[in-house]
């Protein structure tokens, strides 16, 4: 007799509400799950909590013990004291080191024998203060410049003497010597020697006062006194220099395990297939994993830093690391900000690398060389001759290390620091885009002969639009290489290069990065060029509107530049310098390199490629605003003028984005962009002539209100024409209506 059939599951509730795929809240919930899973793993807890709690106290105890034993044993370190002359050196040697030491030993010996009846000599020999050097290892030498001898690190302490005498000129009688103790900020040997000298001078003082009291029955003046003079250490000699290296080690330590576990670990556990079978975009999944890895890296680093600070504080080591002032709130904030940057970068890079791995073992094999590679730039901070420049500011990893060094020593150049931060963020985005491309791809998922070339594998069928990960990869590459390209051009040109060379070079770099690179990417992704870059015809009305906008937007741009100048007046000086610079260049070259090439290439990239891909996944206005933001940021970092370009470029980007969306084509935007740029550059080029004709203002004067009103009116007509031209058929970015389910 057969068993009764099992009951059917209850019917599903009708009409499930499905959450949009690119909903940020959903991505954050995914991140929360990744974080929850990681933080529950006891291996994470060991790295996060136990290591810092155990390691730093043990290390510091070991360090302290090492110092004590090194100073105490015969043949230990030799300490050098600088004096002004041979006589001064002899006096210090005789009066302080020998006499003081003997007095201390005698005093200790007497105390010890009184307590235990032991041989005073033996006890005295054993009972030097812990960590204090023995007198025979302290040498006094004459030097010509006391301050320099200490600040350069050649001597641990310098002593300047001032002798006060009384009596007759023929028979002067020394009554008081003032010792000025000069030592370097954050120098442990220096501070130990200060204590060494202090103790001995005090012993000599006490002995002489007692003797005087016994022989004369009264105590007179104190024979010796001492003052302190702290010499600033050069930046490269502070232990603060090691902070970048420590930040690298800490963030990598924190990020390694979660990065492996959340990528290669998914595959090893067998959860990757289930995950990839779900309709969740890989970029979203990687974003969630990235958030989790960054969080754990930050937590680990924060725990390490806290444990390190507490240990250093409890052991009295903070002044050696952070100088006499100790640890300030500003330093803490700077370290936290640097920590975020380091964690953001390393988490992305580690995720990218481990996404290629099919197992924990393979991931570890990839990461060992990466970690060695990552630590080596940390050593650059110890080389004071290595200074941040434009090329180093965009060199991955080195830029962060040098930035950290310069920021902590208060010597950072804001321009180069900004370049380093932005390029690091771009490299992190690039790494995430790379990881999203690889993670869970069929080759990685099933291990079928996968290789790095899978990244650039062409799909079997044409796509309707570029993929978001491809666009992110291309954007990060273009932005990063633009800076490198600019730096290389400057290096190639040298100081004597002509301006023409710079403008032609810049145009070539723009063509390569913003036209050729996305074209290659689109072809590699099998996206037809017309679809990838929105190359479509547009109505004459649309072109007329774009032309009017191109002719009328310059006063607005001019006013926005002046507004930016209010925030930072120095920026206007840079604008003036650029305006003066272009007056010597031929107008044809200017039109080509500043108007036509950027108009074509930037519209091709920002409105054609970027806007099209982003529009696939979000609303039109979100895509327009995001693209405009990237457009604005690009103009901030492509030139040395920096923030002054942001507002005008952002505003122009919004208008260009609207024109492209409304007309369904990049062509009207190219016209608008070229006319706008051309007008601005020609007005700058012929400013003197225009002023002679009573037309035009200097780059720092406001546009007359009447002109502004007229320009606004023309711009509105232009916008109205663009709006009236309407969306052409087939310009809709979203895929056509989905097939009706059967």
């Amino acid at each position: 007799m057969s068993a009764p059939p099992p009951p059917s599951p209850p019917a599903a509730p009708p009409g499930h509400t499905r959450v949009p795929q690119h909903d940020l809240g959903r991505w954050l919930r995914l991140a929360r799950k990744e974080l929850r899973e990681t933080l529950r793993d006891r291996r994470t807890i060991v790295t996060l909590l136990l290591m810092p709690i155990l390691v730093y106290p043990l290390l510091s105890m070991g360090f302290r013990q090492f110092l004590i034993s090194s100073f105490d044993k015969p043949g230990g370190w030799t300490f050098l004291i600088a004096a002004e002359s041979v006589e001064a050196a002899n006096l210090i040697q005789r009066e302080v080191i020998q006499a003081g030491d003997e007095l201390l030993r005698a005093e200790r010996g007497a105390l010890a024998s009184a307590a235990a009846g032991a041989d005073p000599a033996d006890s005295a020999d054993e009972e030097l203060a812990p960590g204090e050097p023995r007198a025979e290892f302290v040498h006094v030498e004459p030097v010509s410049d006391l301050d320099e001898s200490v600040s350069s690190g050649k001597y641990d302490l310098a002593i300047r003497l001032a002798t006060f005498a009384e009596g007759t000129q023929e028979r002067p009688q020394r009554v008081h010597v003032r010792y000025e103790l000069i030592y370097r900020e954050g120098s442990p040997p220096g501070q130990m020697l200060v204590q060494f000298v202090e103790r001995r001078l005090a012993a000599v003082n006490q002995f002489r006062l007692q003797r005087r009291l016994l022989t004369t029955g009264r105590s007179t003046h104190i024979p010796n006194s001492w003052t302190y003079n702290l010499v600033k250490a050069p930046p490269n000699q502070s232990l603060l220099t090691l902070v970048p290296l420590i930040l690298i080690l800490m963030t990598i330590t924190g990020a390694v395990y979660p990065a492996i576990d959340l990528t290669a670990g998914e595959r090893e556990r067998g959860t990757l297939e289930s995950l990839m079978a779900a309709p969740v975009p890989r970029l979203g999944m990687l974003f969630a994993k990235y958030v989790a890895v960054v969080t754990v890296a930050l937590l680990t680093a924060a725990m390490n830093l806290t444990a390190m600070f507490i240990t250093a504080y409890s052991m009295g080591l903070t002044q050696y690391i952070f100088g006499e002032a100790g640890l300030s709130i500003t330093t803490v904030l700077l370290i936290v900000l640097l920590l975020v940057l380091f964690a953001a970068f390393f988490s992305a890079v580690l995720l990218a690398v481990t996404s290629f791995a099919r197992s924990f073992k393979e991931a570890q094999a990839y990461l060992i060389p990466l970690m060695l590679l990552a630590i080596s730039p940390g050593l650059f901070t110890l080389m004071p001759s290595v200074e941040m420049n434009v090329v180093l500011a965009v060199t991955p990893l080195l830029n962060m290390v040098l930035l950290a060094r310069d920021v902590l020593h208060g010597t950072a150049n804001p321009l180069l620091a900004g370049m380093a931060i932005v390029s690091t963020i771009l490299y992190a985005l690039l790494a995430i885009a790379l990881a999203a491309r690889v993670f869970g791809s069929d080759a990685m998922l099933f291990g079928s002969q996968a290789s790095w070339s899978d990244l650039f594998r062409r799909p079997e069928r044409p796509r309707t639009a570029p993929t978001l990960s491809g666009v992110a990869l291309c954007t990060a590459l273009a932005f990063a290489l633009q800076s490198v390209g600019g730096g290389l051009l400057a290096a190639l040109a040298g100081e004597g290069a002509s301006l023409e060379f710079a403008y032609i070079g810049s145009a070539i770099v723009t063509i390569l990065l913003f036209l050729v690179l996305p074209l290659i990417m689109a072809l590699a992704q099998f996206v037809p060029v017309t679809a990838a870059f929105q190359i479509r015809g547009a109505s004459p009305v649309a072109f007329a509107g774009a032309l009017l906008l191109g002719l009328s937007l310059w006063p607005l741009a001019h006013e926005l530049i002046l507004f930016s100048g209010l925030i930072d007046p120095d920026l206007l000086d840079k604008v003036r310098a650029q305006a003066a610079e272009i007056r010597s260049i031929s107008p044809a070259l200017l039109i080509l390199s500043v108007a036509i090439v950027p108009a074509v290439c930037e519209e091709w990239f920002f409105r054609g490629y970027l806007l099209g891909a982003i529009r696939e996944r979000t609303s039109a206005w979100s895509a327009i605003l995001l693209t405009a933001l990237l457009f604005g940021l690009f103009h901030v970092f492509v030139t040395v003028i920096l923030p002054v370009r942001f507002l005008p470029s952002l505003s122009l980007g919004i208008v260009l984005g609207y024109v492209c969306w409304r007309t369904g084509s990049v062509l009207p935007g190219m016209l608008l962009h070229a006319v706008h740029n051309g007008l601005l550059i020609l007005m700058g080029r012929y400013q003197t002539q225009l002023a002679q004709w009573g037309f035009g203002a200097s780059e720092t004067q406001h546009v007359p209100p009447l002109w502004l009103a007229a320009a606004a009116a023309v711009a509105l007509i232009g916008l109205a024409l663009v709006w009236a031209s309407g969306r052409p058929a087939g310009a809709e970015q979203k895929p056509a209506a989905l097939p009706v389910p059967s």
Binding site: P5, S8, P13, L30, R269, S274, A278, V280, F446, V740
Partner: protein, 250 residues
């Protein structure tokens, strides 16, 4: 409804161009359980992965509920529940957390996710270990959580890849019940297995694969009439004897 049309997959392996699936065509209607059978390496799992969009076909296409995998992968994925014995669980999450996570991944809002979770807990009897971490569950309990995961978004299509591999009699029974219930519920089901004896118990139609090709297709009665064999095992062995050397690996 699942339609597979001229589906082909070639890939490189050890410098060789291997034809894993060769112009495969079949369809599965709602309420039908299609047994895709064959020996190891026949191309069954690759076929499932192409239907799901995890592997891109070299040519041909698959459609699920009218959506073509290559064009609307997310629409297809949201309509499929995948059950695989090789699928693991997140050992540091509880079944409740994991099921809600997958409900979120499949785009269900919080209310629908809670309702579906309740159904799954009831159907697979997960009460006793719903809040215990997956790493501490027994093999049978893990299997039930995995089945619940595949159904949490109430998909109309189920793909089962060797669902009984490594399971004992009781574990296999849970799977049989699951498939029977899915069939009654009107779902389109494909079961990949090399356990021919098992397949006879719950499949309504069969496709016998060998070296990426479909050798025979039909109901048991149709296959018996066509091949003259009584059981699937006999049919399969007869088919193997007839097939020639592998011509396609070049």
């Amino acid at each position: 409804m699942i339609s597979v049309v001229e589906l082909t997959k070639r890939f490189a392996s050890g410098g060789q161009n291997v034809l894993a699936v060769d112009r495969l065509s079949f369809s599965v209607s709602p309420g039908e359980v299609y047994g895709l059978m064959g020996s190891n390496g026949a191309g069954k799992t690759t076929t499932l992965r192409m239907i799901l969009g995890l592997v891109e076909p070299t040519s041909g296409f698959a459609e699920v509920e009218g959506f073509r995998t290559s064009e609307h992968p997310d629409e297809v994925k949201s309509r499929i529940g995948l059950v695989s014995t090789s699928a693991g669980l997140y050992q540091w999450l509880t079944p409740r957390e994991m099921l809600l996570f997958f409900a979120d991944v499949y785009g269900l809002d919080a209310k629908a996710a809670a309702q579906n979770l309740e159904r799954m807990v009831s159907w697979f009897d997960l009460y006793d270990f719903l809040d215990r971490r997956c790493g501490y569950l027994s093999t049978g309990q893990k299997q039930r959580v995995n089945l619940a995961r595949s159904l949490i978004h109430d998909p109309p299509v189920l793909l089962l890849d060797e669902p009984t591999r490594g399971l004992d009699v009781m574990g296999s029974k849970v799977i049989f019940d699951f498939i029977s219930a899915a069939r009654r519920d009107g779902k389109s089901v494909i079961v990949c297995t090399h356990r021919l004896d098992e397949a006879e118990q719950f499949c309504t139609r069969f496709g016998l694969m060998h070296r990426g090709r479909l050798m025979h297709e039909g109901t048991l009665a149709e296959l018996q009439a066509a091949t003259g064999s009584t059981t699937l095992s006999e049919m399969f062995l007869a088919g193997l004897a007839q097939s020639g050397p592998q011509e396609d690996a070049a």
